[in-house]
Every structure is written in structure tokens, then in C-alpha cells.
């Protein structure tokens, strides 16, 4: 199968990736060839097979709801690209 340039644009937007024109064309070709390869799976009849999202046996283990110390505010902000008064600062989300 062959992806169209519009499909590549759409996927890149969903993935929040800014791509150059050259990258878009490269990924269009490479993803098309990878999708051709994975089409092998369509041969298998699986209507009665349950999906595996985790290999683990079903289990749930809950812990006591105890208050424990986590990262301090300073530790949590240490890697912040931009901060202001103990908070992460980002560009405007809404127009003023």
C-alpha cells in the first residue's frame, strides 16, 4: 500500500511532529514499505482470538493509602524549560 502526502501530513499533526518536506517524503516511502510488510498479519483468521494487551496473568495488588514524601517542588521544577513563581510557564494557550 502507498500512503498519500495528505495522510502523512495528518499523521504528523496527530503526532505533533514538525517535519521537513524531505522527511515527509522519506517517511511516506518508508512507512508504506513497512505497512506492506505488516500486511502479512491480515492473512491470519483471528475473529475468535482475544487480544493480548499485557502478558501478565490478571492481578491487582493495592497498597495502603499512606502519605509518603514525593519529589519536592524544587526537584520537580529542576528540569523545567521555563518557570515562574514555582510553576511551569508555557506560551499562551488562549488569545487575550
Amino acid at each position: 500500500m502507498s500512503l498519500t502526502p495528505e495522510e502523512v501530513d495528518h499523521i504528523a499533526l496527530l503526532a505533533r511532529l514538525e517535519l521537513t518536506a524531505a522527511e515527509k517524503e522519506l517517511y511516506r516511502e518508508q512507512l508504506s514499505s513497512i505497512l506492506d510488510h505488516v500486511a502479512l498479519l491480515q492473512k491470519l483468521e483471528t475473529s475468535h482470538i482475544p487480544p493480548t494487551s499485557s502478558v501478565l496473568p490478571p492481578h491487582s495488588r493495592l497498597r495502603e493509602d499512606e502519605i509518603k514524601t514525593g519529589l519536592s517542588k524544587d526537584q520537580a521544577l529542576r528540569n523545567a524549560p521555563d518557570e515562574n513563581r514555582g510553576q511551569f510557564r508555557v506560551p499562551p494557550v488562549l488569545d487575550r
Binding site: 494487551s53 495488588r61 519529589l71
Partner: protein, 492 residues
């Protein structure tokens, strides 16, 4: 006595704990070996020699105090190790081989790493990896590739290629690695060392920066199965910080007991001995199986009929999980942020320029497989076929204790060989992916060399939580062979 950096884990611990050598001496020998070879190998992204020397001095004080007072000594006290750079080690930067995390300082240590720190290890630095562990050659690192110590023009395998090269070149006795589709086993094979990929759920993933969360596992690379088992044993176990860890007792170490392979049943899956496999690889693996038979194992043919589907299943599920996991790199709380006029542009620019080619390729692929209209056909179908692959293993482990197979179809390939063909690179993982999809443990260790003296590895897989079988088999084999003792020619 040999240079101290050439000792394995168990020998080094013996020397440290009896006071014959100090942690400072051992650490200094490792650091000088690194100084000598790191320029050619590029096994590390970040080295922390001052921290290491400081920790070694503290370890030495503790060692002499505990010996004087005849107190028990923490089991790894004073042992130098290296840590793959996708594992958080507190207050050291963790790049994941990516520009997007170039300045990220880990605010805490992951559980596996912390357990080893509690046992007294001395970390020397963070080893090179394909970006976010996505790759089979360590060429996808934003910090440049690692070179294979056996032939500097070749890749060390990946994604734990830095750890494999560091151990093979005796820069450090043992190094941590992670394995999502073969990233411990394949570099172990390419570099002639031993690597363990534990059962999914056996070792906590807390502090292992996520790639494919249903597949990721934390293991290690060492010179012997005995050494690998020592670290595995400490890292394994339930962790309340990772709800996918299973609360099951970790069996006692088996490598100390030696022994034979009497009565152990080994299955040989025909699907792993296919056309296209390098003849010297197949030959060495078959000879190793014959040796195991001589040591008492019972060999039989088995079938894993859905093996050919593992590659397409993996390359839908892993990218799908990656596309979700890597959504967190948005420039808000950590990582690269590029100047931009609004929030959307901040996301797209920071991610577009912060991620490398392979990571973007997998995010694109995974996003497509999860997108409306394609979810059932791609991701949903892959999850169903994953069930069939898992059932194959369950069936086979009804009748055998372990499965033996090659680790990879070839020995180490040339740097740049698969640069323009991602699918050819993905095919390197064809024999290692099934264990991750089924969640079973696997070990890789050296069983010979090809015509140009590149190491060849074998892979053994066992039923979930039966790492003990794998360690026993590898340990018995290593006691009767010396492939694992060979040294790369650059060291001579």
C-alpha cells in the same frame, strides 16, 4: 595478578570483600581502561569519574569498618558498574541517547538501580544507546555510534550497545541494559558477552524511561551467567512503584552450585533455523546444543508456528506504545523547548527537532496504527496475533524446559550497512522479538566465532519466572567451554 578491570563480578567481589584490593584501586583501573579505549569505542554518553572515585572511597571506609567489626558486608559493596542511559540514576543526566533530553537530570533513581546502589555499587557512568532504545546497532544515538571492540568498523548491536562494548572491552565488570525486542541479547551476542532479559514483570520498570511498556524489561550484561545472576537476583522482585511487577519469590542463585544438565529438556524450533541465517552462526549454535546434550540435556525438535508473525506484530505494538509514551516530550515540564509563538508550535517544533529519524519514524508508524479507521486492522490485529505467539510458547513449555535458538541471523554488521533501509535493520531482531511478545525470560551467551573472528551468541528461552533454568544451563555450559573468556584483539 591481571589488571583489576579484567576481573568479573564474583572474582572482584571476592577480592574486595577479603580486603585484597580496594574499591578505589578497582575503580581507578576501570577508569584508566576507559581513558585508554573510550576514544575508539564511544561506549559512554556520560562519565562520572569524580562521583565514582568519591563513592569508591566511601565504600572502602565501609568495607574496612565492617570487616573490623565482623559485620555482614552489603553484597556488591565497592563494585564498579555502568548504567544504560535510559535508566534514571539520581542527579546524573539521563539523555536516552536523544537531543530532547540532552540536559535532563534524573530527579530520582529507578528501583533496579536503587537496589544495586543499596547493595553498594559504584556507578562509573551512563552507556550509549539507540535513541530511546529504538534500534539494533546503537547508531541511532544522537551522541554518535558505539564501535564494536572486536572490529571497530562494526556495530556493537543495540540498543544496549554501549553496555555490551563496555563489558567486552573490560571497561567495567558489568553493565545494566534494557530489552524491549532484543536490546540486551543481540548486543551481548555481537560483543561476545552474556546478557539476561528477565521475565516481563520480574524486575521493576520504575525509572526505566518507557519505550514499549508491555515489552520493556531491565537486565544486565556481564562476562558470565554467574555474574549476570548476581545482579538479576538483587534487582528482581515486586515493587509497589510498578504495578506490572509480580509478587513471586525469586529463586535462590543456581550458578554457585555448578552441576550438569542431566534431565533438562531443550527444544529446537525449526522456525529459528531458516534460510538466510549466516552458516557459521547456525553451525556454532548447533555445536553448542550438541555440547549441552553431552552435558546431559535431552534435545528434541519443537515448533513455534507463528514465529514469522513476530516481526510485523512487534513493529506495530512497540511503535504504538512508543507513540503514546513519547507524547510526554512536549517541552512543558522537562526536555528541549524551542522558542515558538503558541503552544501547538512549541510541541511540533520541539519534538520535530528534538527527536532523531528512527524515533520520529516509529512515532509516525505507531500513531498511524492507532489512528481512527486503522486501529482494528493494525493494532487490534497485532494484539490478537500476539496471543497466538504467546500460546505457541505455552504449548512448547508443556514439554521442554528451555528453547535454544540463535540470537540474531548474523554476526556484527558494518557501521552504516543498514542506514537507508529500516526494514533490513528490523530483520536483525527476528529471533529476539518473540520472547518480548510472549513475556518469557531469555539469556544470550557466546558459543563461538565466525570466519573473521566475530563473536556468535546462542539464545535460551524458558517459561515465565524460570530464569533459574537459564542461568543453570548457561553456567554449566560456561564451565565446560571458554568462548566467554576470549578477549577482543584491541586489548592485546
Amino acid at each position: 595478578m591481571a589488571p583489576l578491570n579484567e576481573f568479573g563480578v564474583s572474582q572482584a567481589l571476592e577480592l574486595l570483600h577479603t580486603g585484597k584490593v580496594s574499591s578505589l584501586e578497582l575503580t581507578q583501573d576501570c577508569l584508566s581502561q576507559i581513558e585508554k579505549y573510550e576514544g575508539e569505542l564511544h561506549a559512554f554518553i556520560t562519565l562520572t569519574p569524580e562521583k565514582a572515585l568519591h563513592s569508591a572511597r566511601i565504600a572502602d571506609e565501609q568495607l574496612s569498618g565492617l570487616r573490623r567489626e565482623r559485620q555482614p558486608i552489603p553484597s556488591l559493596l565497592g563494585l564498579p558498574i555502568a548504567v544504560k542511559d535510559v535508566l534514571c540514576l539520581q542527579d546524573v543526566r539521563c539523555t536516552c541517547g536523544s537531543r530532547i533530553l540532552e540536559n535532563f537530570i534524573a530527579p530520582y533513581s529507578g528501583t533496579g538501580v536503587q537496589k544495586l546502589l543499596d547493595a553498594g555499587v559504584v556507578p562509573l557512568g551512563k552507556t550509549n544507546t539507540d535513541e530511546f532504545a529504538m534500534g539494533s546497532s546503537t547508531e541511532n544515538s544522537a551522541y554518535g555510534p558505539t564501535h564494536n571492540p572486536w572490529d571497530l568498523t562494526r556495530v556493537p548491536g543495540g540498543s544496549s550497545g554501549g553496555s555490551a562494548a563496555a563489558v567486552a572491552a573490560h571497561l567495567v565488570p558489568v553493565a545494566l541494559g534494557t530489552d524491549t525486542g532484543g536490546s540486551v541479547r543481540q548486543p551481548a551476542s555481537f560483543c561476545g558477552v552474556t546478557g539476561i532479559k528477565p521475565t516481563y514483570g520480574r524486575v521493576s520498570r520504575y525509572g526505566l524511561i518507557a519505550y514499549g511498556s508491555s515489552l520493556d524489561s531491565l537486565g544486565c550484561l556481564a562476562h558470565t551467567a554467574e555474574d549476570a545472576e548476581i545482579l538479576f537476583h538483587l534487582m528482581a522482585g515486586y515493587d509497589e512503584m510498578d504495578s506490572t511487577t509480580i509478587d513471586r519469590p525469586v529463586p535462590d542463585k543456581v550458578c554457585v552450585k555448578g552441576g550438569d544438565l542431566k534431565g533438562l529438556k531443550i527444544g529446537i524450533p525449526s522456525q529459528y533455523f531458516i534460510k538466510g541465517i549466516q552458516p557459521s552462526v547456525e553451525n556454532a549454535v548447533r555445536l553448542a546444543i550438541t555440547e549441552m546434550e553431552r552435558l546431559g540435556a535431552i534435545i528434541s525438535e519443537v515448533s513455534l508456528p507463528h514465529t514469522e508473525y513476530a516481526l510485523p506484530v512487534y513493529y506495530l505494538i512497540a511503535p504504538a506504545e512508543a507513540s503514546a509514551n513519547l507524547a510526554r516530550y512536549d517541552g512543558v515540564r522537562f526536555g528541549l523547548r524551542l522558542p515558538s509563538k503558541d503552544l501547538l508550535e512549541m510541541f511540533t517544533k520541539s519534538r520535530g527537532q528534538g527527536f532523531g529519524a528512527e524515533v520520529k519514524r516509529r512515532i509516525m508508524l505507531g500513531t498511524y496504527a492507532l489512528s481512527t479507521g486503522y486501529y482494528d486492522a493494525y493494532y487490534g490485529q497485532a494484539q490478537k496475533v500476539r496471543t497466538l505467539i504467546k500460546r505457541d510458547f505455552e504449548e512448547v513449555f508443556q514439554s521442554v524446559d528451555a528453547i535454544a535458538a540463535p540470537v540474531a541471523p548474523t554476526t556484527a554488521f558494518k557501521l552504516g550497512e543498514h542506514r537507508d533501509n529500516p526494514l533490513a535493520m528490523y530483520l536483525e531482531d527476528v529471533f529476539t522479538l518473540p520472547a518480548n511478545l510472549a513475556g518469557v525470560p531469555a539469556i544470550a551467551f557466546p558459543v563461538g566465532f565466525d570466519e573473521i573472528q566475530l563473536p556468535i551468541g546462542i539464545q535460551l528461552m524458558a517459561a515465565p519466572f524460570r530464569e533459574d533454568i537459564l542461568f543453570r544451563m548457561a553456567h554449566v555450559y560456561q564451565q565446560s567451554t571458554d568462548w566467554h573468556k576470549r578477549k577482543p584483539p584491541i586489548l592485546n
